[in-house]
């Protein structure tokens, strides 16, 4: 994951720190089967701590923020990346 997502994690103020390693299957180029697919799925999907930055109510577009900020009379905080931070960066 690109490092800025990690930086934005700090905005979420985690109760627990993210793990330094993510233990995965000890296999090399496994064949996916009925027996191992759930284990692989759980390894790949980010865990709660890795998604802590999503606890911030990010609007998914700049203009969505303009609409809400104008209504709530607040400034805008924009995280703009090559690739959408809520998708592929």
């Amino acid at each position: 994951m690109p490092s800025l997502r990690g930086a934005l994690l700090s905005l979420a103020v985690l109760a627990a720190p993210a793990p330094l390693t993510h233990a995965g299957p000890k296999t090399s180029a496994p064949t996916v089967t009925k027996q191992n697919w759930k284990r692989l799925r759980d390894h790949v999907r980010p865990d709660k701590s890795e998604l802590a930055w999503r606890r911030i109510p990010w609007r998914a577009s700049l203009w969505d923020a303009v609409i809400d900020a104008n209504r709530e009379k607040k400034p805008i905080l924009l995280w703009a990346m090559n690739g959408h931070p809520l998708a592929c960066t």
């Binding site: 490092s3 390894h43 577009s61 203009w63 959408h84």
Partner: protein, 319 residues
């Protein structure tokens, strides 16, 4: 930091479009971003990515591109001080911006609300004898969206679903997953493939209970290409040496449930795992481009609204 963030309306967005297109939203961004940390810069790239603060009226308040929390907090504090110094009437737009949404051209307008919109996560698998780097690379993962229209999603299972029936995905739909999503983007975005060598996915009906069709998914894929990509931030890198190959080869297995009454998938979980090789400009594999294991999880999570963010390669869908 959280207290500071609550004083703002937070947003995320893709910067290339904001920088280079010309609709209302893009012009709004261009109106303040040149006052920021990368204003006027063209080398090594012209990107304006980073964290910005601005008023709803479009006045620049502050910006930074950093992974250091303290620097981020200082920027936010300074931006708030500027905000407070601006008279109320100059902070806001004089019109309701909600009335101008029609002027904005976003790919998300094509979101298939009645179709299948899933998230595709990618992550490296452990390699015996080679510990993962003890930095962000060892923890890296990425995600993208994958969309199917309702009619396309219905073609992912047999037209007359009875227990035991099998159905091969239409080539174009299997290729969409293989060429657009089964790419090595774990450490950073990378381009897809023009066409696959193998893109085979078969859906088998395991049971039908009421309107719910229970399915298993099996498949395999291989896609590769050769080319030169600058991988050290220098375009001269493209001129060095021979073109190199990159690719991904996987096997797949998963389960899904399709509600015939609603005409949509209510569960979709597919795993693809196998081997990746090579590198591209932004995927940070300069030190790790030999064959290595990789895995993908393709999942439907109706509660995850970010699946509405457009796939990176939606332009290749032909929609």
């Amino acid at each position: 930091m959280q207290k500071l963030a609550r004083k703002f309306i937070p947003a995320t967005d893709e910067v290339w479009r904001l920088q280079n297109r010309s609709d209302l939203e893009c012009r709004f961004f261009q109106g303040f971003s040149e006052g920021g940390h990368y204003g006027g810069r063209s080398r090594p790239t012209s990107t304006r990515q980073g964290i910005y603060c601005c008023t709803p009226a479009g006045r620049f308040l502050g910006s930074i591109n950093t992974s250091r929390p303290a620097a981020m907090a200082n920027m936010l504090k300074a931006a708030l001080a500027k905000w407070r110094a601006i008279p109320q009437e100059k902070r806001l737009l004089a019109y309701d911006p909600a009335t101008r949404v029609a002027q904005i051209q976003r790919a998300e307008r094509r979101y298939p609300k009645d179709g299948l919109a899933v998230r595709v996560y990618s992550r490296d698998l452990a390699r015996p004898g080679r510990p993962a780097p003890n930095d962000w690379r060892g923890r890296a993962w990425n995600v993208d969206s994958l969309w199917f229209h309702q009619a396309e999603a219905a073609r992912l299972l047999p037209a007359d679903p009875k227990a035991g029936a099998s159905h091969a995905w239409p080539a174009a739909l299997a290729q969409r997953l293989v060429c657009r999503n089964l790419v090595d983007n774990v450490r950073g975005q990378t381009n897809g493939y023009r066409r696959p060598r193998v893109a085979e996915i078969t859906t088998t009906v395991t049971a039908v209970r009421g309107s719910i069709v229970h399915l298993t998914l099996r498949g395999r894929s291989e896609a590769s290409t050769t080319g030169r990509w600058p991988t050290d931030g220098d375009v001269a890198d493209m001129q060095r040496g021979d073109p190199w190959a990159r690719g991904v080869r996987t096997t797949m297995y998963g389960e899904a449930e399709y509600d015939r009454k609603a005409g949509r998938f209510v569960r979709f979980e597919l795993v693809a795992a196998g081997t990746r090789w090579g590198r591209t400009r932004y995927n940070f594999r300069q030190d790790d481009d030999r064959e290595a294991p990789i895995a993908f999880a393709i999942v439907l999570d109706p509660k995850d609204l970010s699946r509405r963010v457009a796939p990176a390669e939606l332009g290749a869908y032909g929609w």
